[in-house]
């Protein structure tokens, strides 16, 4: 069916093309420089790209060091010292607090476990807030590793439970409370899911995350059957006075935005015997 042709040079002679050339002439006069149409577009594109890059990198917290930082498992001791020193410096700059970043390794012959007595839990959520204070989690938006679900007594049907119970007087009659956090699974779906091995299970059973390696794809969050993982949708906000200065690289140091975090079994404490 007849139609306009694709790359026919005769379009130059059409009245619309003449109008376009007139517009170009006006713009030329306005800019006071001759326009080469293709060059104009190219320059516009380049200017746009530069402006974009400038604005984008203005909010970027990546430097050369961090861009090429190795995975935790590949870091030598010197690498780790450098990285921890950088983190401590950044913390001082950002929060005005001196912090120490440690890296306790798994202990020989130790495999961690933890138990919660569901008969005794009364849902007061003090564990939730103690965890938040210990682990430097963002207060705004609020990230809490532990989720306490209030269920009707006699059922474990989470569909009928709620984590948002007000709790004016707990335990409420005929309710049981189920605190949930990362269960440090033995065959973790999140470890299988992570495309870059940013999360893995350590020798002592703790499933850890290298926050400087995580790309923030949130595939692990989709994989977790316990909804244990949290994502930093923004730069985490932690009040200066509430920073816990005893920090671990794989545990409770203040995370950057755009990475996933979760309960890490307080390895900066448990691996030191506490």
């Amino acid at each position: 069916m007849p139609g306009k042709s694709i790359s026919d040079e005769s379009t130059q002679k059409r009245p619309q093309a003449r109008a376009l050339r007139r517009v170009e002439a006006e713009v030329e006069t306005a800019l006071k420089t001759p326009i080469d149409r293709r060059g104009f577009l190219k320059r516009l594109g380049a200017a746009g790209a530069t402006a974009t890059a400038a604005v984008a990198t203005g909010g970027c917290t990546t430097s050369w060091d961090t861009f090429f930082q190795k995975h935790y498992k590949e870091m030598t001791d010197e690498d780790k010292e450098r990285v921890f020193a950088r983190i401590e410096k950044e913390a001082e700059k950002r929060f005005g607090r001196r912090v120490t970043v440690s890296d306790p390794g798994p202990l020989d012959g130790v495999s961690f476990a933890f138990c919660i007595s569901l008969s005794l839990c009364n849902g007061n959520r003090k564990c939730v807030h103690a965890c938040v204070e210990e682990n430097n989690q963002s207060r705004n938006p609020a990230i809490q590793y532990i989720k306490v679900v209030e269920l009707d007594r006699g059922t474990l049907n989470l569909e009928k439970g709620t984590a948002y119970y007000e709790g004016d007087s707990v335990p409420a009659a005929d309710k049981v409370y189920l605190p949930m956090q990362c269960n440090q699974c033995d065959n973790p779906p999140c470890v299988k899911a992570c495309p870059v091995e940013a999360t893995w299970k350590e020798k002592d059973g703790i499933v850890v995350i290298d926050y400087d390696w995580c790309i923030g794809c949130r595939y692990c969050m989709a994989a977790c059957p316990y909804e244990a993982r949290r994502f930093n949708y923004r730069e985490p906000q932690v009040p200066r006075a509430d920073i816990n200065p005893n920090q671990g690289y794989l545990s409770n140091r203040v995370r950057p935005k755009g990475v996933v975090e979760k309960c890490h079994f307080c390895l900066h404490r448990t691996r030191n015997g506490h």
């Binding site: 790359s7 990546t62 899911a193 390696w213 790309i215 989709a222 316990y226 949708y233």
Partner: protein, 402 residues
Amino acid sequence: MRTYFQYWRDMLRCAFTGSNVYYAWIALLVLLTASGLAVYVIQLRVGLAVTNLTQQVSWGAYIANFTFLVGVAAAAVLLVVPTYVYHREDIREVVLIAELMAATAIVMCLLFVTVDLGRPERFIHFLPFLGRLNFPLSMLAWDVIVLTGYLLLNLHVPGYLLYQLYRGRQPAKAAYLPFVFLSIFWAISIHTVTAFLYGGFGGRPFWNTAIMAPRFLVSAFASGPAILILVFVAIDRFTDIEIRESIFKFLRRVISIALPLNFFLLGCELFKEFYTDSVHTASAEYLFFGLFGHGLLVPYIWSALAMSGAAIVIFSTERLYRDRRWLIAGSALCVLGVWIEKGMGLIIPGFIPTPTGDLVEYTPSAGEFLICLGIWAFGALIFTAMAKVALAIQHGRLRAQT
């Protein structure tokens, strides 16, 4: 070498010159792409908080579009097989367009994944030597490999053939045919791997089904041809190139089989969900009926089913599909229906309710919408440019200066 530079110069010139309608189209796409990019820059600064994603619903519009587009990319195989296996010469005329559409779809997929990442600058963690790819355990690692491979295949084959045509040479079979056959199997694999992304999680019972991969493939074979129909109608209408009726007939046939099959597989899934009526049915219940009186997705999924149903009627009724306008309508309904059912209607309910029973709905924010629109516009832009160039070369309008 010099000819190769001339080739690029000629291609770019061809891509960016045309009629005023063409200019308007390109201008619109550039504008939409730029607005998407502008919002993405904001997302880079603020973080993914510009979206409506939450701790409970951590994947949304970006991944929904990604999932749909992987299917569109896989659908190129539907024209590759008749051309190279059954030697249908009429389809051979347009098979390069289909392969270029597949490449475009993969580029859009990669863009959607990039805008979804919290730390996109850490993409180097995927690469060998600099990174640590969790292959073969992570399905996302598989996806990165197969998508990149499929992109390279679908850039090499049309690229090689078009360059040889441009040079006026006969293409060497050994240089492209093995890759063509590889791409046939590879096309199945990309959508299977993407289905396995979801199907392997016991904690998400809405996704944890064996027919995830078959459902993905069947809906891809419905929506891909529908998009191709729309593209060919546009080529037919806006250029002086004629697309044969036999090509439309072939695509219609595929859709008229794939769409009812899609319904059947969906029916199997719904039977399992609602007959068993276990606790795990909550996500399907949310999608189709809502939970506790809330169901943002309910009108969408039902209209998606209605649209697919209407498309089946159109593609089965000769009186209707012979009319170009009904054909366009049917194809558009098919694409929209599958997009809703396999995009938002698949990803979002997987997170509602969460494993701890939390119920949080999701709808894309304005920022997400603009970024998605920007990526779609960018895809349309590069596809328009590539298709225009490909058609020009195929029809002898672009040749190397000897």
